[in-house]
Symmetry: C2
Subunit: 342 residues, 2 copies
Amino acid sequence: MNGADGPFLAELGEWELIRRLSAYAPAGQFEDDAALLDGIATLVVNTDVLVENVHFSDATTSPFQVGWRAAAANLSDLAAMGCTAGRGLTVGLVAPGHTSWNWVEAMYAGLKACLNAYDGGELLGGDCSTGTQRLVSITALGSLDRTVHGHTTAIRRSVGQPGDHLVCTGHHGLSRLGLALLLNQRPKHELGQLPAQLRNAALRAHQEPRPRFDAVMALRQSRPPGISWRVAGTDTSDGLAAAATAIARASRCRALLDRSCLPIPPGMERMDCAETWCLAGGEDFELLLALDSAWADALMQQLPGCHLVGRLVAADGNEDSTGWLNSPEQFPMNVVGYSHFC
Amino acid sequence: MNGADGPFLAELGEWELIRRLSAYAPAGQFEDDAALLDGIATLVVNTDVLVENVHFSDATTSPFQVGWRAAAANLSDLAAMGCTAGRGLTVGLVAPGHTSWNWVEAMYAGLKACLNAYDGGELLGGDCSTGTQRLVSITALGSLDRTVHGHTTAIRRSVGQPGDHLVCTGHHGLSRLGLALLLNQRPKHELGQLPAQLRNAALRAHQEPRPRFDAVMALRQSRPPGISWRVAGTDTSDGLAAAATAIARASRCRALLDRSCLPIPPGMERMDCAETWCLAGGEDFELLLALDSAWADALMQQLPGCHLVGRLVAADGNEDSTGWLNSPEQFPMNVVGYSHFC
């Protein structure tokens, strides 16, 4: 019962489990009914659920990576709101009684490692329960303390305007390629021909993604004089096309994506699926931002690895969009992003 | 496929599900990657997970009541920290694709009804995913804005002192009795002899518990002049004995509970299990507070239905505790509270 995987949760019981988990939080953090956080001007709160065999599996993700991904996915949402760091997170852990403590320990170690690596804050508390399936439900908290002319520097999906340039951070499709490598979802010779550097980057993108707080910092630093704070954006966790659609819909615009300069990772262009995975692979946890063209240029100067991928146009306009992907109508149906339950 | 229970989640898909759920939140609340909350001096955050067949089941709880209980359990933790209202909550919903929309709709209606009934704030956002088992993971947010001499009016488990009186709100064991009534867990003649008023109160305590924000309000109003803010406390969701033990441990004291005046609901005394259910039935969502004796008296004057149930004593003292329950050593092993995974 107490072998290589350590004791089972059924042996530990809830109290001992919580005692062990408190090692990942500041001293005394788990002592009360809830956690306290001081001095928050504007609070940003986000909840993301990761379910076994839906969002992760033993075949593709170690327990350390489950924790890392869970933290990164939530911190990515904070970045997408304009935060440059997290204040911490709570974890709802559900697992069957036969789950080993070692699995839980490695998962929390991954979670904590991601928090530490990206200034994500502390483990603030949480709850745990038995259940038929392993899952983590994470609520991440961030704050927007700095103000520009009395306004918070929030990024909202709805504030895009026709003429805004669409800039994304990083390449897209990497995480999807990583999943394919882990599951051998493409012909062996095709995957084998890919450069080693690309394969490694793809695995890392899938297993240990990074929240782009650095991009929000660069966004703040690159704002040209005289341009007021107005940035529409979202993260690309559901795919680049879904992100463009979300911004366009919330801002009552259309998004045009330039098919000739999609941010496909170098070395992946030759794959048939490159465009689809770039647009709809999902889980890249990069940011897509719609902003004034001068600011977009300055941002791309400031932050290497950004890509100008398109622009917002008026919903009722007659723009010539030859060679462009017109959101949402002209995105192929299979690239509008991942939907659960279907 | 679209019968009396409404469409299944697999038919709706994630986006349509989220669109429908946004009706329970303020307009535009679900539009961004995360939610924003303005002007919080001290944030209180709590996460609670409710899992089907662990915390609720179709046999005992309607979907409306699942939502109500989930909200109430979380708001109760905010009350236990000293909040008099909630700022809102996020919901992580996991459910199999064959779950009907009507179940989800009724669950959110219950959640919203509880938020409205007890000034719990708004539905702020969340996430949903398919999974093998229905569950809700809720994170509730509250704030402590008012300060007394520059300090927040937080209730912390660790600030109890020897000599403090232990006061609980309400009767205990009611929720456990409600569960027994729903599952016919006791002999029919015994349950049948219980007064109708008690049976109704027990069902209500189990199915639609109330967070005790009113008790925190009374606590604030009853503080005698010259007594500074220092209140140890917790809610009794894990049982009265577990609550006393939690305060005693965190405050490095012992808790003595007076066996002769346990807060057993009137009419339940004749049941063999009355004392055990009162001490360890759990899920009563009342508050247990340790505070200065003068303040305890004033609180009981201010708030009818409070009970003086014991006191804190020095951990190494030689108090005569004849006739008292001495925490934790002298609590019967089966009354120290509910533990998952075992």
